[in-house]
């Protein structure tokens, strides 16, 4: 009878989409291991309005730790909090999302607990009572199956890969305390400068609109931004390595090796021919759409749907059609 701890994230007082994904993955593993799932949710003073929703995905207990020092991610504070909780709670598996936060927090927590970490996992399997993790390596060109010979097993799970599942459990919300003096955290966040609007990171976005050399210049990104905004708030922007190297787009948007490996539900490759290192970075997307004027572009070999044509004509029409569809269904 083991226990699994899931560390989930909130934003502005509401659960992030990855919370349901990781809790669902945990509860599926819990069935195989006859274990229970408990959630740790660090947040600011306002709490999290929809915390109890995680009960529907298999969380037995949801511990909300509210403190001004936890309103946004703090590497030292969060790592110490999770370490203490794991040590006092006797967990044998610890899971979190492989978001920007999770990929920073996971290694710290694992090292504090003196155990290895399986980072950015895309599948968990329970084999004869042992847990095995699949994780892409070489930017997705190969998949490693790994096992951890230590307890607890700590892993971060790639966003958008694990589907939220209905597995009702008690889902009782309890209030926890930080029990730590934030003055003792050596790292201090001293500034934040807004830029690029409020759109999700390409590695975490459910839908990604990516542009390549076919856009012909940074001034043409407006048409991708239009498509992105038509697709809704879960959509983010991506870019090929060529356009990042050319300085058209920031490196934070780069998809592929030396950039981010992404697995959104839906991926648009616009004016991207499909270099091997780009294909590796997005091949695990749910559905891939390509728009390219070259019918022989390698991108069409991995795309589920393709349109051959001038992207400057196709993309605005696509945006129009998606807007019309959304209005009809609204």
């Amino acid at each position: 009878m083991g226990k699994i701890l899931v560390v989930v994230e909130q934003r502005e007082g509401r659960l992030r989409g990855t919370a349901a994904e990781v809790v669902s993955a945990a509860s599926e593993l819990a069935v195989a291991r006859k274990a229970t799932v408990e959630v740790l949710l660090p947040t600011g003073p306002g709490g999290v309005s929809d915390a109890e929703a995680l009960g529907a995905h298999g969380a037995e207990v949801i511990e909300v730790v509210s403190d001004p020092a936890l309103a946004t991610y703090h590497p030292d504070g969060f790592a110490r909090l999770v370490e203490r909780r794991v040590r006092s709670g006797g967990y044998d598996v610890v899971l979190m999302a492989a978001t920007a936060q999770g990929k920073d927090l996971g290694p710290r927590v694992a090292a504090l607990l003196d155990v290895p970490l399986a980072q950015d996992v895309t599948a968990i399997e329970s084999v004869d009572g042992e847990v095995e993790f699949l994780r892409p390596v070489y930017a997705g060109k190969a998949i490693a199956r790994v096992a951890i010979d230590a307890d607890p097993k700590v892993a971060t799970l790639r966003p958008n890969v694990f589907q939220p599942a209905s597995r009702p459990a008690a889902g009782g919300v309890v209030e926890g305390a930080l029990d730590d003096d934030s003055d003792g955290w050596p790292t201090r966040v001293v500034g934040f400068e807004e830029s690029g609007g409020d759109i999700p990171d390409v590695a975490e976005a459910g839908v990604v609109v990516s542009g390549g050399r076919g856009l012909k210049g940074p001034e043409h990104w407006e048409i991708l931004e239009e498509l992105r905004s038509a697709l809704g708030e879960e959509a983010g922007l991506g870019a090929s390595r060529a356009v990042v190297d050319a300085g058209w787009r920031p490196h934070s948007e780069q998809v592929g090796q030396t950039g981010k490996t992404v697995s959104p539900r839906l991926y648009f490759a616009i004016g991207i021919s499909g270099a091997i290192q780009h294909l590796a970075g997005m091949r695990t997307a749910g559905t891939i759409v390509a728009v390219n004027k070259d019918p022989d572009a390698p991108i069409f070999k991995v795309a589920d749907y393709g349109i051959v044509g001038d992207l400057f004509e196709v993309v605005p029409r696509l945006t129009e059609e998606i807007r019309a569809l959304r209005e009809r269904s609204a």
């Binding site: 003196d114 980072q119 930017a139 998949i143 790994v146 409020d198 759409v289 795309a303 696509l318 569809l325």
Partner: protein, 270 residues
Amino acid sequence: MDDGADWYIEVAYLEWERRCYVEIVVCVKRVPDTETRVRIDRDGKTLDASGVKYVMSPYDEFAVEAALRKRDEAGEGEVTVVTVGGADSAETLRTALAMGADRAILLEGEVTQDGLATARALADEIGKLAPDLVLLGVMAADHDQQQVGPMLAVVLDHPCVTGVSSFDLVDGRAVCRRGVEGGTETLELPLPSVITITKGEYEPRYASLKGIMAAKRKPLETKAAALPDPRLRVMTLELPPERTGGRIVGEGPGAAADLVRLLREEANVI
């Protein structure tokens, strides 16, 4: 009168020296070139290395560049590059020396996907060097783990910021900027600390011919890595399932409506 002035100059000089001398360790890794076509070795667990070209992990190049600039801005200091790996990794260290690093240490041992084991081997050496700053690339472009930096920081009990695009060293602190969702965050941490670098301000320099020649005479020390047994076991390494190419919905803007219908009715994604 003269004595007083000398005394003043002496103190000012000590102050200056204290402020300016900076000791930086950069951890680098030898990885397959990012253009490599991956094939699996017959053991079913590792990369088939035949014909593979190896390079310094691109993110580590940013870290080396950052270290060289900070040393040169300070006016005085030393940049030591360290790696854990096989004898071949000496080549990667020579690359860093040719770029301008002062000395190199090869910790010989087999690197695995157990990032904590690698972090412990690095910490064993770096702890003795006691630098002001430890820099690493945000991740190695082979196992994409993004973990050795923050794990090393925990083992050394240093503060750590990951994914930094630029930073300044000010009065014994590092002021770091990094891209986060919706903007740029600035964090401050006391030295000694560990910082992992991503693409940003530190576009790496090319090694000059003079640098390459000088690198041959720079100290490169080899010792056995204090690597604990790995506890993260790779059971298999496989190629990902092939994606079967789909269909061309049509040509030109006229196909947009059909595409949107398929995305809604067939793929169920919008």
